[in-house]
């Protein structure tokens, strides 16, 4: 069952890079598993070999919100990327834009993608880079804020928001559409 996302407050970490692809989030050698778990320790595997990598810094420990650059999650459709981010402990990703398949995968795994204008993300990146910094995200009100006066409304995909707010079993829901699906099949064969 997916963990619902209603509101969350947590430490933010800055990853000021654009076009972070899913190959970086979880490299290929970790895709051979047959379970949905076990990916957290391998998150950003190659980058984490660098002691200066943002997530390796002491002040980044315990972060639950990732603030990053545009086109986050581009490339491969691997849902393993979202599983790895969630298992590592992230509850929300804040960026100016996301790749489409990555967004779909987030909604189905309790990970909230927050899209904000580039200038706002730049502000958050700077604040997060300066050390211990907390952000609060409220999906019911669609508001992201901090203790230093930043507050912004964000638009959330209506369907994705519903999946997240209620941690819905999407398949169970669609199975209730059986009469419509059967009718479609009858009229198209």
């Amino acid at each position: 069952m997916v963990t619902p996302f209603v509101r969350h407050r947590g430490k933010a970490v800055a990853l000021p890079r654009r076009d972070v692809d899913t190959d970086q989030i979880i490299p290929k050698q970790f895709l051979k598993g047959v379970e949905r778990t076990g990916f957290g320790p391998s998150l950003f595997y190659d980058w984490r070999a660098d002691p200066d990598f943002e997530l390796n810094r002491p002040e980044a420990q315990g972060a639950t919100i990732l603030v990053t650059g545009p086109n986050f999650g581009c490339g491969s459709s691997r849902e393993h990327a979202v599983w790895a981010l969630a298992e590592y402990g992230f509850r929300a990703i804040v960026a100016p834009s996301f790749a489409d398949i990555f967004l779909s995968n987030c909604y189905r795994n309790g990970l909230l993608p927050v899209q904000l204008p580039a200038a706002d993300v730049e502000t958050l990146l700077q604040r997060a880079a300066s050390g211990s910094y907390e952000i609060a995200v409220d999906l019911e009100r669609c508001v992201l804020s901090d203790d230093r006066g930043f507050s912004a409304r964000f638009t959330a995909d209506a369907y994705g928001r519903e999946l997240l707010l209620h941690g819905l079993d999407e398949i169970g829901r669609t199975l209730l559409e059986e009469p419509s699906i059967a009718a479609y099949e009858r009229s198209h064969t």
């Binding site: 970086q24 290929k28 581009c74 490339g75 459709s77 489409d100 398949i101 209506a158 999407e170």
Partner: protein, 465 residues
């Protein structure tokens, strides 16, 4: 007034769930070993079935070795994943092209090859390069594993309707320049997020002049521009390709009915697109990537760009990082950069026409002494066809390894990987950091360009040959 994409979308709406969100019916679901095990496990846990096994087709491609097929898979983790797919298809009644099958191959090569991919279809697969099938006028998109499970259980997908983007490509290609160069040039122009939230429809004379296989190359890389899918309206080239294929409609009446339906999948002349981009094919030269995204691309006659010249801080930082990873110095001419490896393969460029083009370049020549080069056909049928034409001999005599079908070094999940610092001329679709092996450096290009690079031992303009 509707676009091609609007028409295919409308034909698959089971029910509108909300404004712009619909439950869509999936005609063909392609499955492979890497993104499906968790989905089948989910079905099993909930006691659910595959709703339409006959609309589901599985193959093994991502993690399979491309060496001797009579040997067991040496990597125990990959072997377990391949075994899991065999078990799953047996339990759920899905057809599988397994490792021993003559029909095995990269999922996006075998769908079209079988004639299973057809105009107007909605096709999904847990793989971002599903866009390939859009070359037939299908709406084909990559999905995540949760959605794979959803489609298996319900034969449907919930989707926000993407917007329409027209990429009109006029003019004609110069000799030595091909479909790969077109799509790389387009991505270079609009950027790796240039088509995010959109379905690209490729139109224009330059697209009409392409063969089906070339159209697949173009649509394949739509995802590299951020698009949900890429599409090309079907025409006589499409229909001629499909006629007589094993899963295409057969018999006069069935074929005629299919043809009539397929011909309806096109955009109205006055259809409106949300976004439009134009490209003149005549201005496109052979393209080579210099960085770590497919959008970091330039003409082979260009030099490695100087990050200092870029417009924004963000771009500058990204380019500096990319050049450091790639071990390249700004101002270096791209032609002449020495390479260690050549990879001819992938769902982008491993069909028979790609192999013919590359074979013509290497015929009677030999791979440079410092280069290790391999050909990995897109499917076992492509491999067999190439062998009937004697292309395997041409490649072998030129010093290439001739291997079995799979994704191979495009993703490096099997033993075919780059070593740290190795530089590769690749016909695949992604030059991300570590994509072909940790520390490996990938330059994307066309099959003709990669073949020429193998012979010269460095990046080279194939037009000079």
């Amino acid at each position: 007034m509707k676009t091609l994409f609007d028409r295919v979308w409308d034909a698959h709406v089971v029910r509108e769930l909300a404004d712009g969100v619909a439950l869509l019916y999936v005609d063909l679901h392609l499955v492979h070993e890497v993104t499906s095990p968790q989905a089948f496990a989910g079905l099993r846990r909930e006691g659910r079935k595959v709703r339409r096994p006959e609309r589901t087709l599985a193959t093994v491609d991502h993690s399979v070795p491309t060496g001797d097929r009579s040997l067991p898979i040496a990597d125990p983790v990959a072997a377990r994943q391949v075994d899991a797919l065999s078990t799953n298809v047996r339990e759920f009644g899905v057809e599988l092209f397994d490792l021993g099958s003559a029909g095995q191959g990269i999922v996006h090569v075998i769908g079209p090859e079988l004639g299973a991919t057809q105009p107007g279809m909605l096709i999904v697969c847990g793989d971002s390069h599903t866009a390939t099938h859009g070359a037939f006028g299908a709406f084909a998109l990559g999905i995540g594993t949760s959605e794979v499970e959803h489609v298996l259980a319900t034969q449907c997908l919930v989707l926000n309707k993407p917007r329409n983007l027209e990429a009109r490509i006029s003019g004609s290609l110069e000799s030595g320049v091909g479909a790969k160069d077109l799509i790389l040039a387009l991505i270079g122009k609009i950027g790796t997020a240039g088509a995010t939230g959109h379905v690209i429809e490729y139109t224009g004379d330059a697209i009409r002049a392409l063969s089906m296989e070339e159209r697949m190359t173009v649509c394949n890389m739509s995802i590299e521009a951020g698009a949900r899918a890429g599409m090309i309206a079907p025409d006589d080239v499409t229909f001629a390709y499909l006629e007589g294929r094993p899963r295409a409609p057969t018999g006069g009446a069935a074929w005629a009915a299919a043809l009539e339906r397929w011909q309806s999948f096109r955009s109205d002349p006055t259809a409106r697109y949300d976004t439009q981009v134009r490209l003149d094919a005549a201005t496109v030269g052979p393209q080579v990537t210099w960085g770590t995204t497919p959008g970091m691309v330039a003409d082979i006659t260009a030099r490695v760009p100087d990050p200092a010249q870029l417009a924004t801080d963000n771009e500058r930082r990204a380019a500096e990082r990319a050049l450091e990873y790639m071990g390249l110095v700004p101002g270096t001419p791209l032609a002449g950069i020495p390479i260690d490896r050549v990879f001819l393969g992938s769902c982008t460029n491993a069909r028979i026409e790609d192999l013919r083009v590359a074979a013509n370049v290497v015929r009677g020549r030999h791979v440079a002494s410092r280069v290790r080069a391999m050909v990995v056909p897109g499917s076992q049928r492509v491999k067999a066809q190439a062998e009937r034409e004697g292309l395997d001999r041409v490649f072998r005599e030129a010093g290439f390894e001739w291997r079995n079908a799979g994704c191979s070094m495009c993703i490096g999940m099997n033993p075919d990987v780059l070593g740290a610092g190795e530089r590769c001329a690749a016909t695949s679709n992604r030059n991300f950091e570590g994509r072909q092996g940790r520390g490996g450096r990938t330059h994307l290009m066309s099959p003709a360009m990669a073949a020429a690079a193998a012979i010269e031992g460095c990046l080279v303009d194939v037009r000079g040959w």
